[in-house]
C-alpha cells in the first residue's frame, strides 16, 4: 500500500464500497460457467435469463415493486439521466408540461441532465434545502406549477446524509399532476425504502454503494410512468434499456441488496452509534468544529467542519495515516467552488473548504473510530498552526 500502512481505515463508504465476499461468490459463476447471453434460446442462455429474472425479482421485492417495474442499468448516473431526461421528455410530449423541479443538493447526475433540459425546451426550478439539509414539503409546494412535469429529490444526500421526507414530497408533486423521481443511490439498503409506501414514480440505484460491483445500476419505473429508452437497440429489459444484460452484475446487485436488508436493523444501530462517537469526539475534542445537516440522517454518515483547515490537506494527512475520508473542499475536485451541497444549506464557502465527510460501513470497527479520533486532532492542530488567518479569525490554536 502506497501510504505505508498495514491496512486502510476506510471511512468513505458513501463514495464506494468493497464488494462483499458473499457477493463476489454469488456473481463469479455468471462470469465463467454460466456465461450465456440471457437473450439466447439454448440452455446456457436460459440459465442466464433465469438468473437475471431471479435477480430482478429480488431487487423488486426489496424495494416493494413488481419485477416488471425494475430495470437493470449500467450505473446510478445512467439511471438518474434516464429518469430525469426520458420521463421529462415524454411527459412534455404527452401532457405538454415543461417545468422541472430539482433540489439544489442533488447529485450532479440529476443536476446536469436537468440543466441540459433547461437548455433544451424546459424551465428549471432549483429548490434549496433549508439549513437542516431537508427539502420541506411546503417549500416544494410553493414552487410547483400546473405545468410541472417532473420533480426529483434524492432519498438521502450523499454528502451530509440527510433523509428527505419522500412521501410528503411525492404527495405534493402528485397533487399538481407531476411525476416524482428520487435518487435513492445512497439510501438503498440503509434505511427502509419501499416505493409503494413512498408513492414515488421512479427511483435510481447503484450497486457499488452497497457492497456490489461498480458499473451496475437499477431504475424503478412505476407501471404507467411515461418513459422512452435512453439506450436504444436490442430491446432488452422490457424495451426500456437496451444492451446485453450484465447477468453477473445483476446477480451481484440482488445479493448485495439482500445482505443490506438482512443486516439493516442491526447495522443502523451499530453505525449510528459509531457515527455518534465520531461526531461527539470531534465536536468535544476539537474547538471550532461544526456538524452539518440533519437529523434525520443515514446511519454512519457525518459531515464535519474543522474551521481554519483546508479539506484536501486534512484528507491527505489522514491518508498518510491510512485513513480514507472525503471533503467538500474545492481543492479536492479541481474546481474553485466548494461542495454545492454545503453551499446549498447555507454553509459559507470558507467553512465548506474545511469539511470532512466521514461515512462508516460494514467493515468499520470500534477500533477504527478510536484510531480516527486519535489521529485527527494533531492533524487539525498542525494545519491550523500553518494557517496565517487562524488566530485572527478564530483565536489561538490549542
Amino acid at each position: 500500500m502506497m501510504n505505508g500502512m498495514d491496512r486502510t481505515f476506510y471511512m468513505d463508504y458513501a463514495a464506494t464500497t468493497p464488494v462483499d465476499p458473499r457477493v463476489t461468490e454469488a456473481m463469479l459463476p455468471y462470469l465463467t460457467e454460466h456465461f450465456g447471453n440471457p437473450n439466447s434460446l439454448y440452455t446456457l442462455g436460459r440459465d442466464g435469463y433465469r438468473a437475471l429474472e431471479a435477480a430482478r425479482e429480488r431487487m423488486a421485492s426489496g424495494i416493494g415493486a413488481q419485477p416488471t417495474e425494475f430495470v437493470f442499468t449500467g450505473c446510478g448516473t445512467e439511471s438518474d439521466n434516464e429518469a430525469v431526461v426520458c420521463i421529462s421528455q415524454m411527459v412534455a410530449e404527452r401532457k405538454n408540461r415543461r417545468h422541472l423541479m430539482v433540489s439544489a443538493f442533488e447529485h450532479h447526475a440529476v443536476l446536469h441532465p436537468a440543466e441540459w433540459l433547461a437548455k433544451n425546451g424546459f424551465e428549471l426550478t432549483v429548490l434549496k434545502p433549508r439549513k437542516d439539509g431537508i427539502i420541506h414539503a411546503e417549500d416544494l409546494q410553493a414552487v410547483l406549477r400546473e405545468d410541472t412535469a417532473l420533480v426529483s429529490v434524492m432519498a438521502a444526500n450523499n454528502e451530509i446524509g440527510t433523509i428527505q421526507p419522500l412521501k410528503d414530497l411525492a404527495d405534493a408533486t402528485h397533487a399538481v399532476g407531476a411525476y416524482f423521481h428520487t435518487d435513492a443511490v445512497q439510501a438503498l439498503g440503509k434505511i427502509p425504502f419501499d416505493v409503494a409506501d413512498l408513492g414515488v414514480d421512479a427511483a435510481s440505484f447503484s450497486a457499488h454503494k452497497i457492497y456490489g460491483p461498480k458499473g451496475v445500476g437499477g431504475l424503478y419505473l412505476k407501471k404507467g410512468t411515461p418513459f422512452r429508452p435512453l439506450l436504444m437497440g436490442g430491446g432488452q429489459e422490457m424495451k426500456r434499456r437496451s444492451g446485453t444484460q450484465n447477468v453477473a452484475g445483476a446477480v451481484a446487485f440482488a445479493k448485495a441488496l439482500e445482505l443490506m436488508l438482512d443486516e439493516q436493523d442491526q447495522e443502523a444501530v451499530r453505525l449510528s452509534a459509531l457515527r455518534d462517537r465520531i461526531v461527539d469526539g470531534v465536536l468535544n475534542g476539537i474547538v471550532n468544529t461544526r456538524l452539518n445537516g440533519g437529523p434525520p440522517k443515514l446511519p454512519g454518515y457525518a459531515n464535519l467542519i474543522m474551521l481554519g483547515c483546508e479539506g484536501e490537506a486534512m484528507l491527505l494527512q489522514l491518508d498518510n495515516k491510512g485513513i480514507a475520508v472525503s471533503t467538500g473542499s474545492a481543492c479536492s475536485s479541481g474546481s474553485l467552488e466548494p461542495s454545492h451541497v454545503l453551499l446549498s444549506i447555507g454553509c459559507p464557502a470558507e467553512e465548506a473548504h474545511g469539511s470532512l465527510r466521514v461515512t462508516l460501513g460494514r467493515f468499520t470497527t470500534d477500533e477504527d473510530v478510536d484510531y480516527f479520533l486519535e489521529v485527527l486532532p494533531p492533524i487539525v492542530a498542525r494545519l491550523r498552526s500553518m494557517n496565517p488567518l487562524y488566530e485572527r479569525m478564530y483565536g489561538a490554536v490549542k
Partner: protein, 156 residues
C-alpha cells in the same frame, strides 16, 4: 495525482512560520476560495533574501508550492526572487496537476508582494505592482465561467 516531491514538501514543509520584524510581508489569497498564503522575508544590505518563512491555508499543492518557493528564494536577490515564475515552481516540484497550477501562482504572488513590501518600505519602486490576489476584496469567482466550474467536480 501529486508527484512524490509535492507530497514530500506537503508532508515536510520547509520554512514554516513568521519572521518577527520581517523586512517584507506578503499575504495573498482569500479564505473564500480556500487558499491563503503569507510570506515574510528578511533581506540583507545587498538585497539578498537571508531568511524566508511562510504560512499557508490550502490544499496539498498550496502548501508544497509555498514550501518550495521559500527554498528557491532563500539567498536570491529580491529582484530575482520576484521573477520566479509559476512554471519554475511547478517544474521544481516535478510538475503539478493542471487544476493545481493556480497554487503556484499563489506562491509566486506571495513572494512578489513581500518583495514589493520590502522595496516600498525602503522608499524604492515596487517591481510587481498591484497583485490581484493580495486585495482582500478579490472575488476569486469573478473570472471563472460557470460551465467550467461545474464540470470539474466529480461528486461521489
Amino acid at each position: 495525482m501529486y508527484s512524490e516531491k509535492v507530497m514530500e514538501h506537503f508532508n515536510n514543509p520547509r520554512n514554516v512560520g513568521v519572521i518577527e520584524n520581517a523586512d517584507g510581508v506578503g499575504e495573498v489569497g482569500n479564505p473564500v476560495c480556500g487558499d491563503v498564503m503569507k510570506i515574510t522575508i528578511k533581506v540583507d544590505g545587498t538585497d539578498h533574501i537571508q531568511d524566508v518563512k511562510f504560512q499557508t491555508l490550502g490544499c496539498g499543492a498550496a502548501i508544497a508550492t509555498s514550501s518550495i518557493v521559500t527554498e528557491m528564494a532563500r539567498g536570491m536577490t529580491v529582484q530575482d526572487a520576484a521573477k520566479i515564475s509559476k512554471q519554475q515552481v511547478a517544474d521544481e516540484l516535478g510538475g503539478l496537476p493542471p487544476a493545481k497550477m493556480h497554487c503556484s501562482v499563489l506562491a509566486t504572488d506571495g513572494l512578489k508582494v513581500a518583495v514589493d513590501d520590502y522595496l516600498v518600505k525602503h522608499g524604492r519602486e515596487p517591481i510587481a505592482g498591484p497583485i490581484k490576489s493580495s486585495d482582500p476584496h478579490f472575488d476569486p469567482h469573478a473570472e471563472e465561467d460557470e460551465e467550467h466550474t461545474h464540470e470539474e467536480a466529480c461528486d461521489l
